[in-house]
């Protein structure tokens, strides 16, 4: 049963149809949840006792940062699946992840420095968390540049997949940098297991925004995946049917 699913995901026309059907639903629900989370975070949540209203930057900074890492991890897993099982769809997923993750990393760095200035007194410091996040951006750039530089798609898939898999070592470094080293950056406010360090009135908009970002990224990824599949499957007969 599980293998039947796996094989279905390997079929470009099936994935293309799935992406076409589901992207609007993911995108629509993401937009709705984002609006509610924004209202909760900017208006309903009380100001922080130390950071006052500046703490509200968390509602855009933390989701961007979380998903800059999650998208890289997804990209590396897809690249590894592509390498191991020679699955073309998996390479297409990895390629579709890269620009989305790169933009999220830019958002993380910009919102982070806009938060750092009033709290730390500087827009930038060569701190472990900040530096490793900047390296993440360079990894995304390197992945995209490598793909663009190799003309043969199969070779581009293979070379960029190796880079994505090797670069995944940076993900736990970013995640745990605030624990392993002395960092200006605060530790995580929400945990996968256990209670968050925030009051309930502040944490629900954050959790809602994280859910909204997950749906939003799924929607954008599915649109980019369709573009990737059309480019790669240029001679396949199913393209005539879906574009007909």
């Amino acid at each position: 049963m599980a293998w039947a699913w796996f094989h279905r995901f390997a079929s470009p026309p099936w994935i293309y149809g799935f992406a076409q059907r589901w992207a609007p639903w993911f995108g629509g629900s993401a937009a709705l949840l984002m609006l509610v989370a924004l209202f909760g975070g900017l208006w309903l949540a009380p100001p922080d006792y130390q950071q006052k209203d500046a703490f509200r930057i968390v509602y855009i900074h933390a989701p961007s940062a979380t998903f800059s890492l999650a998208v890289y991890t997804a990209m590396a897993i897809a690249a590894a699946v592509g390498l191991i099982w020679r699955m073309k769809v998996a390479h297409a997923v990895a390629a579709a992840c890269a620009p989305i993750g790169a933009w999220l990393t830019v958002a993380t760095l910009v919102t982070g420095s806009l938060w750092g200035k009033p709290m730390w007194g500087t827009y930038w410091a060569w701190d472990p968390r900040l530096t490793s996040e900047l390296i993440l951006l360079f990894l995304y750039f390197a992945y995209m540049a490598l793909r663009a530089a190799i003309e043969d798609p199969a070779k581009a898939d293979k070379a960029s997949a190796v880079l994505a898999v090797v670069g995944v070592v940076n993900v736990p470094i970013i995640r745990y940098s605030v624990t392993w080293w002395n960092s200006l950056h605060q530790k995580a406010t929400t945990k996968l297991l256990g209670d968050p360090d925030m009051d309930g009135s502040m944490v629900w908009p954050l959790l809602l925004m994280l859910l909204a970002f997950a749906l939003y990224i799924a929607a954008v990824l599915l649109v980019r995946l369709r573009a990737e599949l059309l480019r790669r499957e240029r001679n396949a007969s199913w393209i005539r049917e879906v574009l007909g």
């Binding site: 995108g27 208006w43 006052k52 933009w103 806009l114 954008v220 649109v223 573009a227 059309l230 574009l243």
Partner: protein, 55 residues
Amino acid sequence: MSRGLDDFFAMSGYAFYVWWSFGVGFGIVILNVLLARAALRRAERDARRRLEMNP
């Protein structure tokens, strides 16, 4: 909850940092959607052109 609109926009003196963060952050959220749609339109146009050349 009882604060007025002036307080809301002032963000207790952090207006510049808060509003720029949300502006850039959600600007990128929207940009990601526009770029993905543009990539899809480009790929569809190229695929259609190939189909016309090889009917």
